[in-house]
């Protein structure tokens, strides 16, 4: 059937078979698109911590970034609070409140 089709369209049946085979190989090589997560209970030992440094850096960065921002807001709040108290005390001393 493939040979007949190949002859009808002026195609060498051998080429057609090779193209078809290479298409099949290409499709077989392409990984499936990941659109959902599938849990597995066990992984081989060599795969159990394959990306530990990346994971540690990611979590360390999250903790450090959030902590640094928290400290930054606390320091700014403290500085403004001190300025407010100083100014209020000055105004009180000068009797302008």
């Amino acid at each position: 059937m493939m040979s007949i089709l190949g002859v009808m369209v002026g195609y060498n049946p051998g080429d057609l078979a090779t193209d078809w085979a290479s298409t099949v190989v290409l499709h077989a090589q392409q990984p499936e698109a990941v659109d959902e997560f599938v849990p597995i209970d066990e992984l081989p030992p060599q795969d159990q911590l394959p990306a530990a440094p990346l994971l540690v850096v990611a979590y360390a960065f999250v903790v450090l970034a959030l902590f640094a921002y928290l400290v930054s807001v606390a320091r700014r709040l403290g500085a403004v609070q001190r300025d407010l108290e100083r100014l209020q005390a000055e105004l009180k001393r000068s009797g302008r409140t």
């Binding site: 849990p39 990306a51 709040l77």
Partner: protein, 218 residues
């Protein structure tokens, strides 16, 4: 600070203490393995990044139309959180991608739009700091672009298919993955609200300080 602030801070701290155990007990994903656990901080921070951009944009619209300084203070506070959660998203994403995709970065629509959204907020903050008089309204206009970018970031993966997973991943998550994710999301949301309130308080106190300086000069 309001009465709910301290108990909410304690609850948030408790959730941060519990979350490592939940994340550690979540199963390994079959194709990505251990590195997929970055998901539990990457996705919630990405959502907070988008929520903060929406809060900043809505507050900026209200400030532009009503001129109320309270909305301006909220927009400024939210813009800082866009930068904070944005940098967390943009750093944890490539660390995950390096293992899962084999590359640190891809100039696909979602990643590029996220980077642009983050840069818009950095520009907002720079404008507020160095822009001088009138920069509040100019920055509010800039925040609108940041907000308009949000739906584009969210749906882009469904229209331009790249190696970034689509929005269908979360609704189809098994409970074993979903529980730590939603726990982490609530924790990040609580943190977002607390940081936003603290940052707004800072702006309120700065406004109070400015009024006092004016009364001293007057």
């Amino acid at each position: 600070m309001p009465a709910w602030f301290t108990p909410a801070t304690a609850l948030c701290g408790l959730m941060f203490a519990i979350s490592p155990f939940l994340i550690a007990n979540a199963p390994y994903e079959s194709t990505m393995g251990l590195v997929q656990k970055i998901f539990y901080v990457h996705l919630p921070s990405a959502w907070m990044f988008l929520i903060a951009a929406i809060v900043c944009g809505v507050a900026s619209i209200r400030f532009l139309f009503r001129g109320d300084a309270r909305h301006d203070r909220l927009a400024w506070a939210a813009a800082e959180l866009v930068v904070l959660f944005g940098i967390v998203t943009l750093v944890t994403g490539p660390l995950w991608a390096r293992k899962a995709w084999g590359v640190w970065w891809q100039w696909d629509v979602r990643l590029t739009a996220s980077l642009i959204g983050w840069m818009v907020s950095v520009a907002y903050l720079l404008l507020r700091k160095y822009g001088g008089p009138g920069s509040d309204k100019l920055a509010a206009g800039l925040a609108l672009f940041g907000m308009a970018n949000v739906p584009f970031i969210y749906i882009s993966v469904n229209y331009w298919r790249t190696i970034h997973p689509t929005t269908s991943v979360v609704p189809t998550l098994p409970t074993s993955f979903g529980l730590p994710l939603w726990f982490s999301t609530v924790m990040f949301l609580l943190l977002f609200v607390l940081l936003l309130r603290a940052r707004v308080r800072l702006e309120e106190q700065r406004a109070e300080l400015d009024e006092l300086y004016l009364s001293v000069d007057g």
